[in-house]
Symmetry: D2
Subunit: 331 residues, 4 copies
């Protein structure tokens, strides 16, 4: 019997999860879709699925074995707690919550359930952990074929910042992927961070320094750089290079047709994260569903991972407000 | 309800199909596995599936909605005909049959069924049609953004020739992929071919000229080259470049970690077709299953496609025995 | 004292040689420039050089130690013979002569001088022999680090065919570079060739099949392919890949700025041969001048090399007129 | 008449200059070589050149029109001043002097001569300004085809640190190239810098933090990062990427044969700066010699450029001793 999944939030992200679950993942069925906008829920739902504007109805439905939360960030923590009450496994898109306090509440609630029942209900949607490039990079780093890692360089660019983006939201919504992936790659937590402003693009509006440069140090002293550029205009780029004692390893650029035309060699750059991380999203969902089928512990990022990434983000925001001073992460 | 698939042949190819159907394709379930070697069937089958050494039992089982044939080439035609009798949709690995006569039998039998019932039962496993690179290359060619295509260059290399490989089997088993993909890319059939021998590798044994160089002309005069090298030793490479009037487009090389080590920039080359065409196999199976679910005509290659590819192969073999003379393809 | 060079022909090629000799080569001075068009000679000549419309005047001038012939192909042989009479070292642009008979005359005349005086006066401008990529490819092939070479793939594309280009002139003027470089790479002569027509570009006018595909076999059985495409429109491309028993080696693509813009990763393709082979021309001239300074035998291609390349071209033209039949090269 | 050059210092750098001047640059002749080690001078000098262990003899020789200083850093300033006294044009390898005070002396002395005679005698060997990649990158930045530059990322790695290397010498000897090239690329001076330590390689000995990460801000707010890694082991890498408002441009990786062997696609990485910057050194020397021939002002970096790069280095060293604090550059 397939795992019956209810999806809360039928925006771009939720619709993509629905599409993956119904056309690219084995063992799943989308039975319920919730969105405040009933029309959007109906448009994204498979024909056989129910829809609702009330996420609680979905969470507590007997037709739902597991829940995906892809609604507005501000709703994440509350909905996860509802899933806990229903004892329903839940995959929550990042971030776990807009504030550390709310994230802590969720993590503590899950710890209580784990202590009482042995069940670990929460998975976090840090999909890069399932990207084939990142997994190869982590494995190469783990086996130390180039010796100890010393430096990590990350680049994260999107074509256009979302409406209302600010320097703070850039940290909590975008850079959070690197706050998760850097300790995951290196096997050691981030201990202090620094946020540096440079010249800002004229495409940037409001309170958004863009690009920003962030520095991160891990417990074993490894230094990481992150260029975060939301209005890069030309397209979407994610890079990561691990510099080790005797060599380096870097993510491959996505492969596309190599075209020669009008005096140039050209290949297409992804327009946004969807083509770039299509495999990662698909493989993450498959891993989640397969683990649910087998009754295994989730192989995805956990609530603690989500909390830690947010804690790094909080330290980064404090650095932003302290003129870039290196700032300790408080876990 | 998932499509219940029976898989005949639990070798490398069959086992890969089973793995894909159970871990990477939506809407399918493997319920039955047949192999002459009972142990091999048991090893490849999912726990819930039945196994048998008798493919006919599988084909005629009420627990099977569709069949995949991945057994020895010599069995393909007979098993496809059995599926026709059972009115069961079947995905047959290439080639359709070792001889043109057998292939013709199959195609005619399917035409009769189509005429009588409207059902098109047979799909051929020319998976490259689902490779994202090839589909992008076909689309770029179809829209003529570089003008009319004039030349196609294909390269097909494997690390080691299979046991007993000959110049003929290299044509019918390996080059057959290009015999299918070239007309599919260009939208025009291959009309004449030429087989050229050069210096042969000392790794080659028996009656195998390796590498071989093949030339193919299509109905509209486009010329294609194919280097086929089975004992290339270093790894697996598939290339395709379409040269058009004002530009060219070529398949991307598979992307892998870019490593700097010991004075060299390096990236891993696939060892065989499985990593190279993992996406293609997965997407082909998904397209087949999804079409079966919806009752749509198969989007895969058809029996006629399989027959035509074999007919190109027969002409190539005649050229091989005619000192490389250009030889018409008889359809 | 610098070698005083007279340059005959002040067109694109001659002017480039003058520029190299005066700004990028050590030990040379351009003292005399001849061109039928006096204005063109004056425009190309350095301020201190004399100019003339009479090449014989230049060849016999006491102010000229060595001559470069970059005038029209039809004048090459006659001017080389004049240089021989004057006992002046001469670097002749390819081809040595439009006909084999004329080439033979030149080669025999030089052999007589060599026998009589020990002097080898003629060098041929097959500059690819000095391209860093080709020299690295030749060295890799020579040391057999990938085992014996089995196949060679060559691609030669220009943006636009010259006025009056025909299938024959494409062979004698353009493909001649590969007729020289393939035996030079492999250390074995070309013994038979075949010329194949495919679909021709609508940019092609008159009697020009474009692109053409040529096959060449060497004495040891190695097979080579050459795509020659004069109206490729998009730019200038020279490729060469040597496929050997356990690996392959290919020329690097020229490196240019890697730009990300408007959804594409881009780099500039050379517009013509000058940027592509700038190093090769410079290094060839330096090697010629340095050998003249030291009194060494020329390290450039010889008249015999020029003759052999033309003989391959003649065989290719016979194949063109024989419907592509493999045709022996007559040396 | 060729420019007669005297070269002081016949180590790796000096010998390379001699080789270039005698085999790859037009219009020059090496007439005199000085080295404290007479044997080394003799080994590096052309047969026709004189040698000495006394650089003053060389500078004041009537057989020398121009001087290159490639001796120990500590001798640079004194020898440049001697050249000034002799009114001889001089190309000084970086750094101009080990201390700012000495550099200031030199720059002021040159300003006096310039005021008195109109002659600008000093050129600095910041050869990257002549690297074809850097010049293309500067031009692309200058024309603002991607909008305003916002960030620059630099990477500078060598295989092995020289004996006695320290964090300070890494700044004054290696990073100095970027201190020159960043303002040259952007057309705006560096105003403040920060030096960051991470985990240090076990290959590093003594007082050398390796790698180090440096941040630099220019007058218009552009931020630049520099990874400097002297013991990178695998080879030599110089990278530079300019991130602008609507696109990016990056230096090409040096092109080398692309080899497929033993499961990997490989290309050679330069072992040190010589193959990487061979063109840059050659073109810099040619530009210097050609300007001397024509009596033009030097197109190379000036003494002021050398001083400014050293002033950036001094600020970086202060940051190093201030726990990485951003430190103003004092010009």
């Amino acid at each position: 019997m397939p795992i019956r999944v209810g999806v809360i939030g039928a925006g771009v992200m939720g619709a993509d999860h629905i599409r993956n679950l119904t056309t690219a993942v084995n063992g799943a069925e989308v039975t319920f879709v919730a969105d405040l906008d009933a029309g959007r829920a109906a448009a994204a739902a498979p024909p056989s699925a129910r829809t609702t504007t009330d996420p609680s109805e979905l969470i507590n439905s007997s037709e739902v074995d597991a829940v995906i939360i892809a609604s507005h960030d501000s709703t994440h923590a509350g909905l996860v707690l509802e899933c806990f009450e229903a004892m329903t496994p839940v995959l929550c898109e990042k971030p776990l919550a807009p504030t550390i306090l709310e994230s802590l509440d969720v993590v503590e609630a899950e710890a209580d359930i784990l202590a009482a029942t042995g069940a670990r209900l929460l998975s976090m949607g840090f999909m890069r952990r399932f990207d084939p490039g990142y997994t190869a990079l982590r494995e190469a780093t783990r086996v130390r074929s180039n010796g100890e890692p010393l430096l990590v360089h990350c680049t994260s660019r999107t074509a256009t910042a979302g409406p209302g983006a600010s320097s703070e939201s850039a940290i909590t919504n975008s850079a959070i992927h690197e706050f998760d992936i850097i300790p995951w790659l290196l096997g050691t937590p981030i201990t202090e961070v620094s946020w540096q402003a440079g010249r800002s693009s004229r495409q940037s509006t409001g309170d958004l320094q863009d690009p920003a440069l962030m520095l991160l140090r891990t417990a074993d002293g490894t230094l990481a750089t992150l260029e975060l550029f939301l209005n890069a205009q030309y397209g979407y780029t994610t890079r990561c290079e691990v510099v080790s004692e005797s060599g380096t390893a870097a993510l491959p650029e996505p492969a596309a047709l190599l075209v020669h035309r009008e005096g140039q060699q050209r290949s297409v750059i992804p327009a946004d994260w969807r083509p770039r991380f299509a495999d990662a999203y698909r493989l993450q969902l498959q891993a989640w569903i397969s683990a649910l089928e087998r009754g295994d512990t989730t192989p995805l990022a956990t609530g603690e991972d989500g909390l830690r990434a947010s804690q790094v983000g909080q330290a980064m925001i404090r650095s932003l407000h302290s003129d870039g001073a290196f700032t300790k992460v408080i876990y």
